[in-house]
Each structure stands twice: as structure tokens, then as C-alpha cells.
Symmetry: D2
Subunit: 338 residues, 4 copies
């Protein structure tokens, strides 16, 4: 942390700031310039609240000069994390993984048709929602455990791993037998109690970026899980909220290479939520692979127009299978397989 004092800061103000810094447990190096004095904090600054120093008398600006996360940082595991699943699938290696399924698990026929399609396309993950966070209390809220039982059965029939969203701590235990990967939705990215609890679990966690979260905040959230000893965290870009309304969210494709630079954790792209529009899923899936995504998460449904949720962004099975073929060509072009 660097504290830049105002040009006219008094010695008394400077000493006041030094005192507060030292009370926070850091050592202070002072550089007195012709115009401005600069105070550099040396020591463990990861837990410091920088804004606290910004309002001290005589302070101009405070800057963080080291990342506020540790375990998630690239330097912690420079070779990159590869997350392995019971069905042999991996996320984070040279091969790009395909995760697909319905927004909401509706019934056996729907789910088995989807699982067959995922398998046929070469995917390894069946994703489906059993607990649904809905903005309106008047919307359908999910099948719960019976839905997860269906998912486990359909996945087993095709050698797929399962992924489903966990919305609160109490669901973790009951979900354990049914999911190979817990998904934390965008709205829960800063549900820190849930994250801490998932740090105690020994199953991978797919952590979605909140719609207004910065890349740094996403990494800080992953740190909650990692610091509990669960190192199998997969990050997911799924669109952020901006002023543009032609797509439901603005998919921040650049977050993919930015994350690869900052962290060792694998990065998944979700072009379904990223755009909210079926006709934009294919180009954005391609862009994601070209930009370096380690996996794709795609919503599919045998009768997409009649999906009970997210219909607008859900692909029909034939659209999905055609897309995966096209993605394979892009993967090859960037030196990977799919």
C-alpha cells in the first residue's frame, strides 16, 4: 500500500498517518519529495481496508500495490489448476470441456433427451437447475431433490458428470450424493458464508461472476473457498450489467484472458446467460473459445421455446450439436482440442 500525501501536508498530518498505518500492523517507509511525501507500507496488507487511510487528514490518494488475494493468484500455482472429475473429465487442461443442460430440470423425458445430446456432442457435463433463484415470487421455483435424482440417473446413463446450483448452506449436504460440481450462481458470488462452507467440501465448485462484480472481487470470492482447503474452483464469466440493452447482459470476453493472467484457476464461459438471446449464443461461444475459455456452459432443451425458464437463451438440441462441431474447429485453430 502506498499513501500519497497532499502537497501541503504538514509534518503533524504525516506523522498521524504513519501512526495509523503502524497500528494496522505494517512497517512504513517514508519518501520525502520536493513536492510530495509518499508513505509505503511494508508487510501483510492483504486484509487492510484502504479507504480507511484515504480520509485521514493530509492524504491525497491511497493505492494498493499488491493483490488482495493470495491463494487465487497466478504465482501460487504458475502451471495452472486442472480440476478432475469422477467420470474422467478435466477442466483446465489442453482439452476444452462442454457443460450443457436445461436451465430447470423439468421431467425425466426432458432430461434424458438432453443427456443423450450432451454425450452425442462430445460433452462431459450435464448441468441442470433443481433450486431456482427467480426474480419474481410468482415464478416456478424448481423440483428440488427429486430433480437431482433424475439428473444423477440421466448423467450416469451417459457417463456424464453433474453440475447444479446450490443456493444456501442447508442444501449442501442433501445435494452431495447428486452433484459432482456445485455451482454458485451470480447472485451468491458474495454470499461469503456459503463460500466458506463450500471451502470445507471436497467437490469442485463452479463460481459464477456476479453481474456487477469486478474481476478482482471474483478472485476474492474464490479465495474464500480456497482458504478452506478446497482448491478445485472453476471461475465462470456469464455477462455483466452495463447500460447496453440489446443483450440481457454484456458478456465480458476480455475477462477470460485477464483471469488467465491473474489466476491459476480454470475459466468457463456461459454464453447463454452472457447474452440472454438464443441467436447470440453461437457467436459468443466461438468468441469464448478463441479468447481462451477452458470450458463452455450452454443451456439446451429439446423444446427450447417451451422451457419453463430462460427459454429465450436456450438452444434446441440440434442447434447445440451443430455448434459444438463448429467450436471444435475454433479449438483446433487456437491449438486445443474439444
Amino acid at each position: 500500500m502506498i499513501v500519497a500525501m497532499q502537497e501541503n501536508a504538514t509534518e503533524e498530518q504525516i506523522n498521524g498517518v504513519i501512526e495509523v498505518m503502524e497500528e494496522s500492523g505494517v512497517h512504513v517507509h517514508r519518501t520525502t519529495g520536493a513536492m510530495q511525501t509518499i508513505l509505503a507500507a511494508v508487510g501483510n496488507t492483504a486484509g487492510l481496508d484502504l479507504s480507511k487511510f484515504e480520509v485521514l487528514a493530509g492524504v491525497m490518494h491511497v493505492h494498493r500495490i499488491s493483490a488482495p488475494y493470495k491463494l487465487a493468484g497466478r504465482a501460487f500455482r504458475p502451471e495452472g489448476t486442472v480440476v478432475e472429475f469422477p467420470n474422467g473429465a478435466v477442466i483446465g487442461g489442453q482439452k476444452i470441456a462442454i457443460m450443457a443442460g436445461p436451465c430447470t430440470i423439468e421431467n425425466r423425458d426432458q432430461l434424458f433427451a438432453i443427456a443423450a445430446s450432451v454425450k452425442a456432442a462430445g460433452g462431459s457435463f450435464l448441468r441442470g437447475g433443481a433450486y431456482k433463484p427467480r426474480t419474481s415470487p410468482y415464478s416456478f421455483q424448481g423440483l428440488g431433490i427429486p430433480g437431482l435424482e433424475l439428473m444423477r440417473e440421466a448423467a450416469a446413463a451417459h457417463g456424464l458428470a453433474t453440475v447444479s446450483e446450490v443456493m444456501e448452506i442447508a442444501q449442501i449436504g442433501p445435494m452431495l450424493p447428486y452433484v459432482d460440481c456445485f455451482q454458485v450462481g451470480a447472485r451468491n458470488m458474495q454470499n461469503f458464508n456459503l463460500l466458506r462452507e463450500l471451502g470445507q467440501v471436497r467437490k469442485p465448485v463452479l463460481l459464477k461472476r456476479g453481474i456487477a462484480a469486478t474481476v478482482e472481487e471474483l478472485l476474492l470470492s474464490s479465495e474464500y473457498i480456497l482458504s478452506g482447503g478446497n482448491y478445485d474452483v472453476i471461475l465462470c464469466e456469464r455477462g455483466i450489467r452495463t447500460y447496453e440493452t440489446s443483450t440481457r447482459n454484456t458478456m465480458d470476453i476480455s475477462a477470460i484472458p485477464v483471469l488467465h493472467k491473474l489466476t491459476h484457476l480454470p475459466v468457463v464461459a456461459d454464453p447463454s446467460h452472457g447474452t440472454g438471446r438464443r441467436d447470440m449464443v453461437a457467436p459468443m461461444a466461438k468468441a469464448s473459445v478463441a479468447a481462451g475459455a477452458d470450458a463452455l456452459l450452454i443451456e439446451i432443451h429439446p423444446n427450447a421455446d417451451k422451457s419453463v425458464s430462460d427459454a429465450a437463451q436456450t438452444l434446441y438440441l440440434d442447434q447445440f450439436e451443430k455448434l459444438v462441431k463448429e467450436l471444435r474447429l475454433i479449438a483446433t485453430a487456437v491449438g486445443r482440442t474439444l
Copy 2:
């Protein structure tokens, strides 16, 4: 809901859309123009997912023409909601209420000094955090129940009502004896399970707007609580995330009059989180009262610079007491009391 078809939509496409609309449980009125056909849905459209219709063949745009919330709508209670508290305080009437306290409850001395200051200034609510959602897992996480016990005691000594943040369902029961008002933080605004549970409680809920939430989404979240039968919901504007970085958040003062137009629920302004800077709290508190806020939520601390959290935005007690005097003048200028 209005579905505007593309200019060149075929009869087959139009009939296809009508069919999906009718399956969703609404009646359809068709207007065939020279250029364009328009389909209006008649019936209960509150739970409809509009985007589902946007991707049907031949559709140009879909527009919602009635609000997606019911109980929160102004029309439900045109005279406005007045929330009453055991200590006689009210929020939503002609009198503007002051809620103040520390970001984090630290110890007895801190809290009793604050409670005395709130009372001296004419405030009626003591607010303090016992469970802290922190972006970094390496930061202090709150005192829990012992902190709430302190708060109840300090509040009782001065006839104040208590407010504290609830972060998950499991905390509701244990918190009940200690809080007169549950606060739902910005990060939990769309934690729908928590909201639904709070709908079953018979204590007021102060619901903070998420940092990327629209006014409509805030109202939909309040609907979760209202639909459980808990009508004592207080909404809170506390700053939204924008591209501007000179303040931590951009306080959306216009949300105050917009909410008063759309809903009967009272509106609180939080200039501490709204700006994140101590020197901006006073002007934004004044602006909030001028714009029609029903209450203010202000972070204060006897030794603000050394507050364990949110130091940058926390007022010293004398700053707070001076501010409340100034706010009283503004309240009078807009025909209210404080």
C-alpha cells in the same frame, strides 16, 4: 404484455406466437396494421418471462405494459405504508427518522457512547453489525450474538429501536430477541430464500438495494417479503455501481422520488455506503432529505478513524450531531419534521 411482430411476419408465425401466448394462460387481442401486427396479452401476466416470446419466429419486440409486482405497487396502498416500532418510532410518516450506529459492533464502550449520541441527536434507531459480509476472507467477521446482546442493552438504555443485518436463514431465529428490524444487505437483495423466510417473520425488514439492482428488481425483491404476509418493508437506497470512481458507489438520489411514485413502501437513504467517503456524507444526507427520504441511515463511531470496518465513511459523533441539526432545517424546508 404486447408482442410487436416484424413487418414481414407470416400468418403462420403470428399464429405460432398466439399459440404460445395462450398456452401461457393469457387471452390474446390481435391488431392487424397496414405494416405490423400487434398481439396484446390480456390476463395475469405478472409471472410471465417476456424474453421467452422475444425469440419466437417473426417477433420484433415484446413489451411489458403492467408492473411485474403487485403488493409493492403504489395502487395497493395509495396512502403509503407507515411502519411502527415498539419504542414508538415510525418510518413512513411526516416525521423523518434517524438510524445510526457503527458498521461493526466492537465493544460495550463503543456502543454505549454511540447509543447516547443517537439519542442526543434525536434519533430513534441504533444500527450495528454483528455478522459482517466481508469481501476478503482475511478481514474481521463480526461478534455475532454477544454483539447483539450489547446492542439490545445499549438501545434499551436510551429508548432506541435496534436494526442489524441478517445474512442467512439460520440467523433469523437467534436474532429475533435482539432486533426490532432485520436489515437485508445489498449483496442479499436477491437471496430469495432469505427473503421468503423474512416474509414469515412479524418484524419490519429494511431491504437494501443491490449495487447493480434496478428499482424494479428492488420492488420485486420486496414482493417476496410482502407475499409472505410481512407488510412492514422499508426500502433503502445505498448507492449503485457505475463507471465513476471518485466515490465508492454512485448514490442514486433519484431512486427516492421514483420509488415514492411506484410504491407505498417507505424509503431510507444511506449516504455512508452511498458515497463511501466521510466528507460526502453530509451533503448527500441533505440531498436525500430534500428529495423526500423517510429516514436516514448513517454510520458513526466515537473514534471513526479507528473503526474496524468502513472507517472511511464513518462520521465522528460530533460530526453526526451537527449534521442532524442541519438536516432538521432541510426537513422543515420540505414541510416535514425530524
Copy 3:
């Protein structure tokens, strides 16, 4: 400027950065910490492009520690700038000024009725558009010089100063006889050639913040005018673009106190463009005065619903006159007059 090197930066990288810094004309102070090396630039860094240093090998972050503007900075004129007008009005002093008028000058009857209303309400500035920047090429584009002649005449009849928007350099000369203050619209806030030319003029300039401009960018734009020797610059907050759609723009009320802290230039608030909705103009005008605005800019029209532009945000004359009375009470409450 502070350059924080990566923890593992080599001596060669550090020396490379020092070399580029010195070539940019600054002296370098090096602090070698146990973990990290920090390079501080001493000298004139106002024109430096910081991002240039960010991509040098071994660099972690680059931070600006002094403001990139000089003449606009508070320190340049700590007592604050007061802009004076030929009719005796001032902006920037203890008295809050009222500027009002139609979005577009339409005809003599309209304009004279408006000028009379401005005068009756106690305002000192008549503002009207003669050149209109319209998003659609199919919309009305303004009356031009004949409109300005009408404005000068109507203003003279009531002792008002005139304000009108200049859209390009070629309009400056022809407009000179008619305007007492040039307005630079939000879309031209970074039209640097226009700004530079206005720096040569000896009439005040009202500079509107762009809809996606930061406070710092607004100040940098004002620096273009100031550096030409024209010190009579008035800044204007008129709403920024965010994800929220319940108002056309989100009025950033906090920009008013933030600007007062950073600069000596007076600050005007435009609640008409700030909200885009007639029913929000009054509460936001009040909030602006409470937050410290030095003047208000309000769109008014004798037949607001039929205004050829901006009808939705334009007040009727009686609404305007009533509002100014209410604002006077707020001005008194914050220790000012109006």
C-alpha cells in the same frame, strides 16, 4: 506517478522502467523493499500517459499521485471562482442562480412568455437552444441565428443574461453578439478543438459533463478552456449513463460536493436532463441545492407537452415558479440565498 514493480521483477526490468521514466522527463526515486521495488516519479507528470508504463516488463501497477489538471485544481484558486455577467448576475458566490428556458427556441410568443416567467421567479438567465444536436437526422434541428436574435431581445426586455449551446467552432463568431455564456453540451465535452477555441473567447463557458465522463475527465476538459486564458468556466452535472432505466440518466448528485472539493470552478445542476422526467425535476432540483449547487438549469415551456423537443422533462411555467419558491426555502436551510 508511482510504479510498483512485480515481486519477482529483475534488476534488468527495473532499470528498463527507470530508463523509460527518465526519457519521459521525470526524475526517479527508487525504494527497494523486501518484497517489492517501488519507483516514484518526481517532476512534471501532468502530461504523462500512465498506461504506457503499465505494460513494461516487470511492472505490476502504475498509480497517478498528483492530479492530471492544474488550473482547474482547487489549490489554484482556493477561494473559489465567481463568474460575473453583464446583467449583474453572478455564479459561484453565496447566491444560487436560476437559469431556465426552452430546450428549443420555437417562436417569439413562446420565448417572451418564458423570459417573463424566469424574471418573475427571480431567475437571471434565459437559456434556449438555437442549434440542436438530435440523435435522429429526421428530427427538427433548430432555428439558428434568428432564434438567437429572439433570445437576445426577450432577455433584454427582462434584464436577463443569455445562454445557448455552441456545437462547433464555426458557430462561435456568429453567436458572440447574442450570448452571454456559451454552453458546451455533454456530447461535446471532449471536442477538444472546440474547447481550445473557447479558451480564446472572453465570455463564460458552461461546460456540461458527458454522459459517460468521469469527474476527472470533466476537469481535464475544463483545463483546455482555462489554459487558453478563459477562466470563466462553469461546470454542469446533468446525469450519467448507468444500467438503471427508470430515469433517462442517473443524476450524480455526489458530483456536486466532489467537484467543490477538487476545483474552484462553480457547479450548476441540470435536473431536467439529469432525470428526463418532468415529475422528477422538482425533487432533484431540491437535492441539488441541498448538496451545494451554485445554480440550477431548468427546461420550461408555456405548453410543455407540445414542446418540439425534450417535452417529457420540461416544466410548465407555473410548475417552475412554484418550484423556485420551494428551492428558496432549501437555499436558506443551507445558509445561502436564491
Copy 4:
């Protein structure tokens, strides 16, 4: 345009709205529902200001149901526009074009080295800045015409077409001999007078999206040029402003397929400005091609670190040539050439 009346709107209010609609030159179709009355406008609504109707008494919402632009709409030229250049290059066809050059033209050696590199890589366009819009008045402002002379000479030596930014109307004439394509920068996207003037020119215009412009606003701006009879407009996505700070702008890759759906005009991607970081240019260039971009605009410099402007986002020539080879593989994967 659809006007949805409030549920309790009176007959008088409904008739009032109908009257204002008819005065605006449209016919009105009325649908009286059990709950709500809906008024549909029939006729030319392209120039209508919708917000004008939103504030009329009894109105709930107003919705546009046809696009506010005509000539830019996909339907105007369903087969897509192909822009041709004197050197035989085209933008908009099956082949993806490469446009590259320095942010600022500095000197002969710099520019000739760059032109040779563009040619060697298989590019057809040399882009360089002679007039520079700089946020700080203390930064270098460009070489002007002598710079353009150099650019024409360097381009001619390698059979390249030239592109340079025009900042104001007065520059159009002097620039004509030197440029094959006028670039309108992001800050001038809504400089409507400049756009109108460029509509009179018979050279292609590359129109950059403003940093806070919606896709619809970009199309409305292109309409200004098209409506003057200049149909050779090329649109450019170059990043928008969001809350995320890990990249200078957030490149909206989804704008590429969205534009292809809405308009017949070709779409260029600018990953240099889109990210502001050299290390992000390659992945975002690849993503742009995968998403359907018709051309790429890339900043390059033989000594990128010492570029007088935009150094941080400028590629070295060898990085550029390597990137184009990689892009060629992606182009093939999406069925195009480069």
C-alpha cells in the same frame, strides 16, 4: 409506437393522449381491454420523441415498436453492404480485412516500417492519426497535413489504402487527397454536423461506437451519413465504459453479431482501444474474428513502448505479424478468409 394507459385512466385522459398523438401526425388504433386501454400509432413514427408521451396524464408506458432508423436497417439491403477501396480491398465480404498502423504518425521511418509490416502480414489498410484528440491539453496533438502526406506516400509504396481520423468539418476538405477512408472517433460519434457533412462526401466512413453509446445510437449516427447519400459506412466496436477497471474499456464482442442482425453495414473490431492493453489484443482479436467481425483495426509501432500515444495497447511489428497468422486460422474455422 404503443401507448399503454394506466389501469385507472379516464376517458378524458385517453382522449387527451389520442389528440397529442394525432397532432404528431400518426393515426391511432385504440384497444380497450378489461383492465387497460392501449393506443397504437400507425404511420411514420421514426422522428417521434417517445418520452413526450410518457408524461401525459394517465399514461403508464410508451414503447417503440419499429426501429428509429431506416437506411441502416438490415431490411434496406438484406444482402449486406460491401465497401470497395481504390486499392482493390473490400470490407464486408467473405474476406476479413486487416487495418493497422500507429496511434499517431510520428515520422517517416516509423511510418514506412509500419506500412511494410502491414503489407507483409497481408493487410490492406494503413491507419494513422494526424489530428489527435487528447484528454489533456498538455499532450502532443498530432502532425496534421504533413503527417497525412507521409501516410499517403508510405501507403502508395505498398499498395495500401489509408484511414485517418477527422475531428471537425474544416478538416474534411484538406484531408480528402490523403485518405481513402475517414475515421470518426468514438468522441465524435454524436457530432451530428460532422456526420451530416460526411454524408456529402463520396469516400467511405469508419464510424466508431462512442464509449457510452448503445448499438441503437450507433445505428442512428450512421443514419446521418447514409441519409446524405454516402452508403459506404463501416461500423466499429472499440469498447464501452463499464464499472470494470482491469481493462481500459470493456470490449462488447456481442455487438458484432447484434449489429450483423440489425444492419447491412460491415463491422470492424478494434481490440487495441477495446482493451487498452497490449497483452489482451491478441485474444480479443481472435474473439472478434470468431464472432464475425469483417475487419480488424490494430495499433502497431516498431518501438511500441516509446510510441508517443497509446503505447500500452500498441503491438510490436513482430507481435502483429504473428497475430495475423493466428487470425488466419480462426478465419478458416469460421468459413472465411483473411
